[in-house]
């Protein structure tokens, strides 16, 4: 792929050129999704395992769909009902999966750094599908892809990210990717949800949501993590909605062609007013479609790594499973 990388662990690791080459490839796959048969045979013989140690609906569906649209074979598990509940370690689970001849491992984990640990210990390619509060690189890529398709550029865009920056791996991946591509990023949210020294990321901290929205080309609204509601990060949902919720009125401060984005799932009436979520500026459902294309691009580019498949013991097996693997289609001139 992307240089000679085996894994996609975060956007922090990628260069601007690598990010752009993923986005260009994703555009090709976006077209595939509109075909009468939205499926290509590129990843025949490649097997992907989706390991979700944390609940997820859309990310898991999106990865599974991307794998199937590429004709890969897929296996998936969620923590409940797997051997994890029997006390198996992450490494043992993964090694067992690799012994089954799997080429790509997609992992979501509540611990930041879990995919990095797997990447170091496996020969298979590893894709981070969200680790703790660290990164969610494919979400970052699909956000940036969506902006780029609408605005025809990323450099110089003013992007406001509003909400719980501290706990948001989406925010982190967005910020890394956007800064590398030369966008201006401004963040706003409760001070209890703002990382210490967030400015070191190269972002501007706005004093209020209104200030962040001023002249924005894009506003990305982060989800209030209701599961954290019992903690003391903010007083009440109503208070949050009043101070930080994005309403049509607030949105008027942004540019007239502002894009409204949200990684989902939405809490309507809390961080985003229903009229905004369903309004003319909203590209929230487009993000979901684009997510499949972006994940196809990442899977495709990683699967093409010459040494990616399996451990040495499985190398012969995986060769055998790809009957056309070594034939030459092209150098025809």
């Amino acid at each position: 792929m992307i240089g000679q990388r085996k894994d996609l662990l975060g956007l922090e690791d990628l260069t601007a050129d690598e990010i752009l080459s993923i986005l260009d490839t994703a555009r090709t796959f976006r077209e595939v999704l509109d075909r009468p048969i939205p499926k290509v045979p590129s990843l025949r013989g490649i097997t992907a395992a989706n390991l979700f140690y944390e609940p997820s609906t859309r990310t898991r569906l999106s990865f599974e769909l991307a794998e199937k649209r590429l004709s890969a074979d897929t296996v998936s598990f969620q923590t409940a009902g797997s051997s994890v509940s029997k006390g198996e370690t992450l490494k043992d689970t993964a090694r067992n999966i690799e012994a089954m001849g799997i080429h790509l491992v997609i992992v979501r984990h509540h611990a930041s750094g879990a995919p990095h640990y797997l990447a170091r210990n496996l020969n298979a390619g590893v894709i981070n599908a969200g680790d703790g509060t660290h990164e969610h690189p494919t979400q970052g890529l699909l956000d940036i892809y969506t902006m780029r398709e609408h605005k025809a550029r990323v450099t110089g865009l003013r992007v406001a990210i509003v909400g719980d920056i501290l706990h948001s791996r989406v925010a982190r991946s967005d910020i890394w990717g956007l800064k590398k591509l030369g966008a201006e990023v401004v963040v706003a949210g409760p001070t209890t949800m703002m990382p210490v020294e967030v400015e070191r990321f190269g972002v501007t901290v706005a004093k209020s949501v209104d200030e962040a929205l001023e002249g924005a080309d894009v506003v990305n609204i982060l989800r209030v993590q209701l599961e954290r509601q019992s903690s003391t990060l903010y007083s009440t949902l109503r208070e949050y909605a009043r101070v930080y919720g994005i309403t049509l009125e607030r949105l008027r401060r942004a540019r007239p062609d502002v894009l409204v984005m949200h990684p989902g799932p939405m809490n309507r009436g809390v961080e985003i007013a229903p009229e905004v979520a369903d309004g003319e500026h909203s590209v929230i459902l487009e993000q979901v479609t684009n997510g499949v294309a972006v994940r196809m691009a990442v899977l495709y580019l990683l699967a093409g790594q010459k040494d990616a498949p399996g451990a040495s013991a499985e190398a012969t097996l995986s060769e055998g499973k790809r009957p056309h693997g070594r034939s030459t289609l092209s150098p025809r001139r």
Binding site: M1, I2, Q4, S21, I22, D24, T25, R27, T28, R30, E31, V32, R35, P36, I37, K39, V40, P41, S42, L43, Y300, L301, A303, G304, Q305, K306, R322, H324, G325, R326, S327, T328, L329, S330, P331, R332, R333
Partner: protein
């Protein structure tokens, strides 16, 4: 890209233009007109060649067959050797191809694997009445049971040689050359 040295000119710009003109005539003759034709170029050089055929056919018949383009990268059978590069250029088939006569257009026919990939991809877009293949050069060395319906020029080659079809839209010049790779 490996280094290629040009050895001999096979067809100059005028020769290439005549070949395109003749193929356009043959397509119309074989299909009894141009009414249900769709021309589909294989990226990259097949696409400008398909456009030129479109112009010629319009000139002769007054009918402008639609032109599409195929990026066959996703249907290739050598993922292991190519997929670490980004792919740029989506396929674009502007009309429904069901019941149409589709003419695939490419610059060179060699092993037949590109044509195989293009056939598979095209069939995922619909069910054409028939698919025909037009190429500027047939250089032999087929590895699959595939043949062209329209050929600009048959050029016997050795496997070490390369055939360069250049089109103005991509290369800034028109013509066909034989070259060899410098080891």
């Amino acid at each position: 890209m490996e280094q290629v040295r040009e050895k001999a000119e096979v067809l100059d710009a005028e020769g290439l233009r005549r070949a395109v003109t003749r193929i356009a005539h043959e397509i119309v003759e074989k299909n009894g007109g141009a009414d249900s034709l769709v021309l589909v170029g294989i990226q990259r050089r097949g696409v400008p060649l398909a456009r030129r055929l479109q112009e010629k056919i319009k000139e002769f018949e007054g009918v402008e067959p639609p032109v599409g383009s195929l990026n066959i990268a996703l249907y290739r059978d050598d993922l292991q050797t190519i997929a670490h590069q980004p792919i740029v250029g989506a396929s674009e088939i502007p009309v429904a191809i069901d019941g149409k006569i589709v003419v695939l257009v490419d610059d060179v026919l060699f092993t037949g694997r590109t044509a195989r990939a293009a056939l598979d991809e095209l069939i995922d877009f619909g069910r054409p009445l028939s698919i025909q293949l037009a190429v500027m050069v047939d250089r032999g060395h087929r590895e699959l049971p595939i043949r062209a319906d329209y050929v600009g020029k048959n050029v016997p080659t050795s496997r070490r040689e390369v055939v360069l079809v250049k089109v103005d839209e991509v290369d800034g010049t028109d013509g066909i050359w034989i070259g060899e790779t410098l080891a």
